[in-house]
Symmetry: C2
Subunit: 407 residues, 2 copies
């Protein structure tokens, strides 16, 4: 059985942990599985390399930053190959250039375009465990790119898809997907199953376990995805097709503190203004999340939206540069906010979820700044300081009080 | 004017030193030179990576070790590109896979087979400073190799040859080639010129400034080679074609402590025994330096030879495995020895050099274990503890006493 595994940086942070993972790989290998294993850089390596770059310049070339950062994953796979060899397991490490993971040229946040399977299959034929440097690709000039946040997971799922693997296992230091972040909310429970769609909402809402690009890809190619711990034998969480049998009202609560809100006040109330505003932001590759538009006075309107904290300065710059056609120069921003969301496939058919959530927030006196909803999620924007309190209150309301049983 | 420069690890060991080099490059660039710059890994990076590998296993796969070690140079070039960019100098970093430096598959000590110039020339056309990760190559499967000791110098000279550069400048933390190691012998003098052949002898004798592979290549392709300091404006030493005008009797003294002696005692005195002995060693890629054969008793002979310290264990293993046909199992070894050599193109026409050297050793009471000579050098094997004393005595005899003037 061909299995693609991915181990995060905390799972390979030092020699002991590398051997811990190597032994897990050995066990699987000795059962006759063929293994392709994607690794992240060890522990804080990526941050340390970034710090090195920042010591050189506060604004490093993105191409060169990718050249620098990609070395972290290359080191991980080389060390793991050595560990496997010393356990008697034949293994070979490959970087993106070696097996051919082609991406766009968007340094720092490139997208996978194509993956060659020839070299990997040749190594599998030779009974090698194939260790893949995650996070990285090469563009059509052979220059090294990195694939952005959550990229090693995405690499693993993409490999599982093109190699037609029986399953893809994503390992980290938690047992699987929880109803909320167990570090923030002690009563959070592990889920045995979550649907692609629910996971997608949770991922895009800031639950850090899986990145949404990875889940999207898994859904698109029906990759059987397991989220597991590299430290326990817990069976983890299966992420798969929506099962009609059991739809939890709320399967998870997510907190996202990486949010900034920008309000453009007294915009001209003309057709196309919103389109121009958001296409100007899109051109600079700034992702906008929640958008709220309200009628202002004197033929104007106000538009508020959220962006990732890292994008705040750039977004404000875009607005400044487009003052003229926006007809507004009043840009208010706030980066002391957080987004708290509840996700559940059962929500679509149960209109009471929003009111239960708002009640929970009211109970603990948390003020809601913005609200956004989809078929299977509700997000609220609140003060960053109140995020944990709010999430705990919501979690208690839904989970501990067995509200789910009502579905 | 196209110049290839190479900066060693100590020249780029930290951010300050990176900027020091970046400013030198900037100066050259602003004078209109086109620059291809080869870098080593920062400071102790390679040793630190090796230590990481040794923590995993005492006998790491050579392929994987190269995969690991090559990241050091990739980090250097990326950081230097960032520094140059921040000084307003356009620069691009390239690893071996990106510009195409093809080598043999002999991991850890691969040889350059071919260098593609297309990518480098394209970047030079765009007025970029081209930063090349030294020390590394790729084999025909695209797997990463490293080129062994002194490889970044060799890369630089090879690039100067294929790019038809006006000259190749090798930068380190010393001002050039000295008549002896200035750290060991304070009276050592910098040479303004040394011939390829003299440099070759010095390099192969353990003078650490330039590796002989690099000098051989420079000689073969008539590359104009400068050895300079990255910390001063000294014009350095020019390494070039032998000038007939001035032939120094002795141009340098070298100490090599990386030597082990092995003696095979009471070998069968049969034709072909020596051939078989040394071809068995060659098959394991063990380089043998000085060889001395003497007649033993009862139709036997003794053969002594020297190898690098790292190769001692392997060499002894080869001997053990070939006991039967050697007809000897008495292998004596000593790794507390050093080789001290004098080199000079004038020596060939002046038979008195050896006796002056031996007199200097006699003066300080140093016992000579083995002697080896070539047209332009004399080496003696002595006790490691006496190496510095011996070198100083020889240096004084030749340099300070103006013996050279006698030529």
């Amino acid at each position: 059985m061909l299995i693609v595994q991915k181990y995060g940086g905390s799972s390979v942070a030092n020699t002991n942990l590398i051997y811990n993972v190597a032994k897990r790989i050995q066990k699987s290998y000795s059962q006759g599985d063929k293994l392709v294993v994607v690794l992240s850089a060890q522990g804080d390596t990526t941050d340390e390399l970034k710090a090195k770059a920042m010591e050189i310049t506060s604004n490093p070339s993105k191409r060169e930053l990718d050249m620098l950062l990609s070395t972290g994953e290359q080191q991980s796979v080389a060390l793991m190959a050595m560990a496997l060899n010393s356990l008697g397991v034949p293994a070979v490490s490959l970087n993106a250039a070696q097996f051919g993971l082609y991406s766009t040229s968007n340094y720092g946040n490139a997208r996978i375009k194509r993956i060659d399977t020839e070299r990997i299959n040749a190594e599998l034929e030779k009974n090698n465990v194939v260790l893949i440097a995650g996070f990285q690709g090469i563009n059509r000039y052979g220059d090294i790119t990195t694939l952005g946040r959550g990229a090693s997971d995405t690499t693993a799922v993409a490999l599982a898809a093109v190699l037609h693997a029986a399953r893809c296992e994503i390992y980290s230091d938690v047992d699987g997907i929880f109803t909320a972040d167990p570090r923030a909310i002690g009563t959070a429970k592990k889920l045995n199953f979550i649907s692609y769609d629910e996971m997608l909402e949770l991922a895009s809402l800031g639950a850090r376990v899986l990145h949404n690009r990875c889940v999207e890809l898994a859904k698109k190619y029906s990759v059987v995805l397991y989220v597991k711990s590299s430290l326990t034998d817990d069976e983890g969480t299966l992420v798969g097709e929506d099962s009609k049998m059991e739809k939890m009202l709320v399967s998870g609560i997510a907190i996202d503190k990486d949010v900034s809100r920008i309000s453009v006040v007294a915009l001209k109330d003309e057709p196309g203004i919103a389109f121009k505003l958001f296409s100007a932001l899109a051109k600079e590759k700034i992702s906008v999340d929640i958008i709220l538009q309200s009628i202002g006075r004197n033929n104007t309107k106000d538009i508020s939206f959220t962006v990732a904290k890292d994008d705040l300065d750039k977004a404000l710059e875009v607005l400044e540069n487009n003052r003229a056609f926006l007809g507004s120069d009043k840009f208010i921003h706030d980066n002391k906010i957080a987004k708290v969301s509840v996700v559940g496939a059962g929500m679509a058919t149960n209109p009471g979820v929003a009111s239960i959530m708002f009640e929970a927030l009211y109970d603990v006196g948390v003020n809601i700044q913005m609200i956004s909803t989809s078929e299977i999620k509700i997000s609220v924007l609140i003060d960053e300081k109140e995020a944990d309190l709010a999430a705990k209150a919501i979690h208690n309301k839904f989970m501990d009080n067995n509200v789910n049983l009502a579905v």
